[in-house]
């Protein structure tokens, strides 16, 4: 049984609290980006592309049992780091939990504050997209 979303979010917040400055936060984010579960090439389609980012971001979602698993990729490494953080929290969870999850941890790890406005919008679009997948698959489960 994997941890629930809240526990993972807290874990991420703790992790980021270890860093004193933005450089270290970014370096950590870049590292996380490199460990991102990569989307299969065939899912890098126009439909899986998230709008609202200057860089390209693809997200694919698939049900495994009653849990939703996300894979993603981006052509920009910082964006990849952001999506890696989101996926760590939201992937392999029940769609209903994904829909209900709050996103305050983004503020707590300083992502919103530290990212440029357009990037922050990209972040918002990414969260919206993950939740939309969850809504779609939730109806399938019901």
């Amino acid at each position: 049984m994997s941890n629930n979303i809240k526990e993972i979010q807290d874990e991420i917040v703790d992790e980021f609290e270890m860093f004193d400055d933005w450089m270290q936060r970014y370096e950590h984010m870049i590292e996380l980006g490199k460990s991102l579960p990569l989307i299969e090439e065939k899912y890098k389609t126009e439909e899986n592309l998230i709008k609202g980012c200057q860089s390209k971001v693809w997200v694919h979602a698939e049900l495994e049992g009653d849990r939703l698993v996300f894979t993603a990729d981006s052509d920009a490494i910082i964006t990849k780091g952001i999506i890696a953080i989101l996926i760590r929290a939201y992937s392999n969870q029940h769609p209903k939990d994904i829909i209900d999850a709050d996103t305050a941890f983004i503020d707590e790890i300083g992502l919103k504050e530290h990212l440029s406005p357009t990037r922050a919008n990209g972040l918002v679009s990414m969260i919206k997209q993950l939740k939309m997948y969850a809504v779609a698959y939730q109806t399938q489960l019901n």
């Binding site: 450089m23 200057q54 860089s55 390209k56 490494i77 910082i78 964006t79």
Partner: protein, 412 residues
């Protein structure tokens, strides 16, 4: 690169004092502003002109009998004369105030929709900004005219042989930017105009990127239309110029209906006002026009020769320093270019570099610079574009180079 032969003795430190924004901090670091090709910063002299207008004589212009209206009208029309003189137009009524370059281009495109016939052709260049492509595509859809594209070479120059081949008696219009916004290439506009005129085609030059660096002489160029935005030349946003030869402006129908642009109105018939008012429907950006004039005064007080010589020095210095960074490629290496450097490092996404160096207080532009065809040519998602102005310094370039190196280390 075009290199300044003599060092200029103009005093950048005293010029910098004219720009209050240059003393602010970003993310705890002194601002290094290298996004001048997107918008230039505003000197106190222009800010003062704006404040003065709203403080002393804000009023609607033309036809007002009261003092304030008269003062505002005088100032606005004086600004038109300043613009006329700056670009050396034959008459002040050949200067139309617009909201900017895009508006000016759309005005001309809309006017040509009644002049173009099916099968006739418009030529644009592969270096164009989106705003220079879309209005012509729309115009072609509407009229059945065809859009032809002058291809570009690897160094970011235009393929002039191909251009000659595209020209024929079917060509009615040629639209080219004087300077490319994505790469900084200065196009051979004299040659482009001369050849277009030989087949009887009109030429519109997008001077948005040229105007901050080059003082265009529209009569000497013999160009039919020339358009600029004030905000790229130390002026405010929301105002720009359409220059058109009198004969062309008379031929084009009005763009928008409204106040200012009419002479007489009855329900049976409206007669249009004379130039320039025929194209200036409604209350214009009065303050913006006046501030545009103040911006030209300011830039001319420094002198465009001094500006060009100093900016070339900055360009040469930055190019040399950037090329020392391993894996860095500069796009647009024409011998004739303005102080713009578009680059990528290895396969690092330009957005990643832009994000990191913003944390270090440096403003550059990343992305496709609204010139997707240029990016497609190089098969890249975009570039990092650093664009310099006469108020930038070599010390700022050093800070920028260090920041780019730091970003590269983090992102590789």
């Amino acid at each position: 690169m075009k290199v300044a032969s003599t060092r200029t003795n103009f005093d950048v430190e005293s010029i910098r004092k004219d720009f209050p924004i240059l003393s602010r901090e970003v993310n705890g670091k002194p601002l290094v502003y290298f996004d001048n090709a997107a918008t230039s910063q505003t000197p106190q002299q222009v800010i003062d002109a704006i404040v003065d207008y709203y403080t002393r004589y804000n009023a609607n212009i033309h036809r007002g009998v009261h003092t304030l209206s008269q003062e505002a009208t005088d100032a606005y029309e004086q600004a038109r004369v300043k613009v006329q003189k700056h670009f050396n137009a034959a008459h002040s009524y050949e200067v139309i105030f617009t909201s900017g370059t895009t508006h000016a281009i759309n005005l001309v495109a809309s006017g040509f929709s009644s002049l173009l016939k099916e099968g006739e052709e418009i030529i644009v260049s592969a270096l164009e900004h989106h705003s220079n492509i879309v209005p012509w595509q729309m115009l072609c859809e509407k009229t059945g005219a065809k859009l032809k594209v002058i291809p570009m070479n690897d160094d970011g120059t235009l393929d002039m042989e191909e251009y000659e081949k595209l020209l024929s008696e079917k060509t009615k219009l040629v639209f080219v930017n004087h300077v490319s916004n994505a790469l900084g290439t200065i196009n051979p506009v004299e040659e482009i105009i001369e050849k277009a005129h030989k087949v009887g085609a009109a030429v519109l030059l997008d001077g948005a990127q040229a105007a901050p660096h080059i003082k265009a002489n529209v009569q000497k160029l013999d160009v039919d239309f020339y358009v600029v935005s004030a905000h790229k030349m130390c002026g405010p946003t929301g105002v720009g110029m359409l220059y058109g030869k009198e004969e062309w402006l008379k031929k084009l129908p009005p763009y928008q209906g409204g106040g200012e642009m009419i002479a007489t109105v009855t329900f049976e018939k409206t007669t249009y006002a004379d130039l320039p008012h025929k194209f200036e429907a409604g209350t214009p950006d009065i303050c913006g026009g006046i501030a545009f004039g103040a911006a030209l005064d300011y830039m001319n007080s420094i002198g465009f020769e001094n500006i060009a010589a100093y900016e070339n020095e900055l360009l040469e210095y930055a190019t040399e320093k950037l090329q020392e960074i391993e894996g860095l490629r500069i796009y647009g290496t024409s011998a004739e270019k303005t102080a713009v450097i578009s680059f990528n490092i290895d396969d690092i996404h330009p957005y990643d570099i832009g994000t990191i160096i913003d944390k270090l207080g440096i403003a550059v532009r990343t992305g496709h610079h609204c010139a997707q065809p240029v990016m497609d040519y190089y098969k890249i998602p975009g570039t990092v574009r650093a664009s310099f102005s006469f108020y930038n310094t070599k010390e700022e370039i050093d800070i920028f180079i260090e920041a780019v190196k730091r970003a590269k280390n983090m992102l590789s």
